[in-house]
């Protein structure tokens, strides 16, 4: 018999059988960050007005919904750059698919603009509380959807968690408050936003903890996601930029400001914004790095 070795390749060893999913660059994390920021800027002015029964004193807080629309437009610009077939973007709006987070997102994005405009404009012919509650709901949907968009992608263990929705909403509230804190504000609004930011940071830390516990106590794929975040390539950015610089240090600054009545400094809001952007980058890129390819077929 001819001793020639016949090599066959089958199953997942064939090239391209496992889909290539490391396809997202800077555009998606930037979009998710700006989307979260816009969600915070939709919710916070409306929530302050609902709590106090009158419009916020600071001009910039009142302009929050318009800022949200502007930042969301920037984010959608980044999203548009990521599209493979840019001319087909209008097809998102020919259908609504309830099972698709991307379809929900496309329609939520369209809903945000008129609601943001009405929340800022305050027309006399619309019941104000209804407008404000709609702004809170639209902002909440926007903030949660950005996390569900990743969480619905089960093929990437690093995104396979229902916690991403509330986590991104908490981060969106925190970054929204941080952006407002960098603008000239009335003292009462500033104090309120520092407290809201501190609470949102605690919620974000708790949700991040739940995400890690979920990964650590899950199956092999979840363990892989846990490793990618905490000990592999993205660990240094995760621990330093997200956990320490993005959450712990600004929370310490805000706790000192609240408890000891120290003067406000811009360090905490700047760090919160850096942390929010880093959170999106780390989760998107480490999620893309975590693949079923790492398990033998």
């Amino acid at each position: 018999m001819d001793p020639t070795i016949v090599e066959t390749v089958h199953g997942r060893a064939n090239p391209l059988v496992d889909p290539t999913l490391s396809v997202w660059g800077w555009e998606i994390p930037v979009y998710l960050f700006l989307g979260g920021l816009a969600a915070g800027l939709m919710i916070l002015p409306a929530a302050l007005e609902l709590a106090r029964g009158r419009r916020p004193d600071s001009v910039w807080v009142r302009l929050g919904p318009l800022l949200a629309a502007a930042l969301l437009s920037l984010g959608m610009g980044a999203l548009f750059l990521d599209l493979e077939h840019k001319l087909y973007v209008w097809r998102f709006y020919l259908a609504f698919k309830p099972a698709s987070p991307m379809s929900w997102g496309a329609w939520i994005l369209v809903l945000v603009y008129p609601v943001a405009f009405l929340a800022w404009w305050d027309p006399a012919w619309l019941p104000r509380r209804a407008v404000l509650w709609t702004a809170v709901a639209a902002g909440g949907a926007l903030g949660i959807y950005t996390g569900i968009l990743l969480g619905a992608m089960a093929a990437r263990p690093g995104w396979n968690s229902a916690v991403l929705g509330p986590l991104f909403l908490a981060s969106g509230l925190s970054t929204g408050a941080a952006l407002l804190l960098l603008l000239p504000l009335d003292a009462r609004d500033r104090h309120a936003l520092v407290r809201i930011d501190a609470v949102a940071l605690v919620a974000e830390a708790a949700l991040l903890g739940v995400l890690l516990i979920g990964f650590a106590s899950g199956d092999r794929t979840a363990h892989l996601a846990f490793e990618h975040l905490t000990t592999r390539n993205w660990a240094s950015a995760f621990w330093s930029l997200v956990v320490v610089a993005g959450i712990s240090v600004p929370l310490a600054f805000e706790a000192l400001e609240i408890r000891r009545k120290l003067a406000f400094v811009a360090v905490a809001p700047v760090l919160v914004l850096v942390g929010g952007l880093s959170l999106r980058f780390v989760l998107v890129l480490s999620g893309q790095a975590s693949s079923f390819d790492e398990f033998p077929g």
Binding site: S236, S240, V244, A245, V249, A252, F253, L256, R260, K261, L262, A263, V265, V267, L271
Partner: protein, 172 residues
């Protein structure tokens, strides 16, 4: 205006710094350093301007080049933490404000900055020649009982005492 809190006793500060070094070994498996981060930033800046020359360089090529991230190093993150910790410490002590610190003799801001830059440059070159600065050599190497690090520390003190007579009147 919040009352400034007094500085810590330097001996207590030194002891706590030793504990920080111990914690650093335990948590991340590395000692402390500072000039290494500045070195990487410098190499990274050079790589932006002349990537091929830097990548082909015998020493700098170890840090930067295709497939390498010049900032992906423990010291870079550690120095970021030093900035954040310093900022938090200053804020908690009620002493965070903009300004240019100097000795007791007032100097024009540009002179103070020029001297600081010149001193930093000298320190940076010397740290590269000595393969480490006071953090990497004296603290980390000293804790590991490295003979070279102890020699470095002795020479730092000797150099300080030798230079002091010429410079100390600036601090009176």
């Amino acid at each position: 205006m919040t009352q400034e809190k007094p500085f810590w006793n330097p001996y207590v500060g030194g002891f706590v710094l030793g504990l920080v070094l111990l914690g650093s070994f335990l948590v991340v498996g590395n000692g402390l350093g500072a000039s290494g981060a500045a070195n990487r930033l410098g190499v990274g800046a050079a790589y932006l301007v002349a990537p091929e020359t830097v990548a082909a360089h015998e020493v700098f090529g170890e840090y930067a080049g295709p497939g390498k991230n010049v900032l992906d190093d423990w010291l870079v993150f550690e120095v970021l933490g030093v900035f954040l910790g310093g900022a938090l410490g200053a804020y908690s002590a009620g002493r965070m404000r903009r300004g240019i610190q100097g000795g007791p003799r007032p100097l024009a801001p540009w002179k103070r900055l020029a001297f600081a830059f010149a001193g930093g440059l000298l320190m940076g070159v010397a740290a590269r020649l000595a393969r480490g600065c006071t953090s990497g050599q004296a603290l980390t190497g000293g804790a590991l009982l490295s003979a070279g690090s102890w020699a470095f520390m002795m020479m730092v003190f000797a150099g300080g005492y030798l230079a002091a007579p010429f410079l100390r009147r600036q601090w009176r």
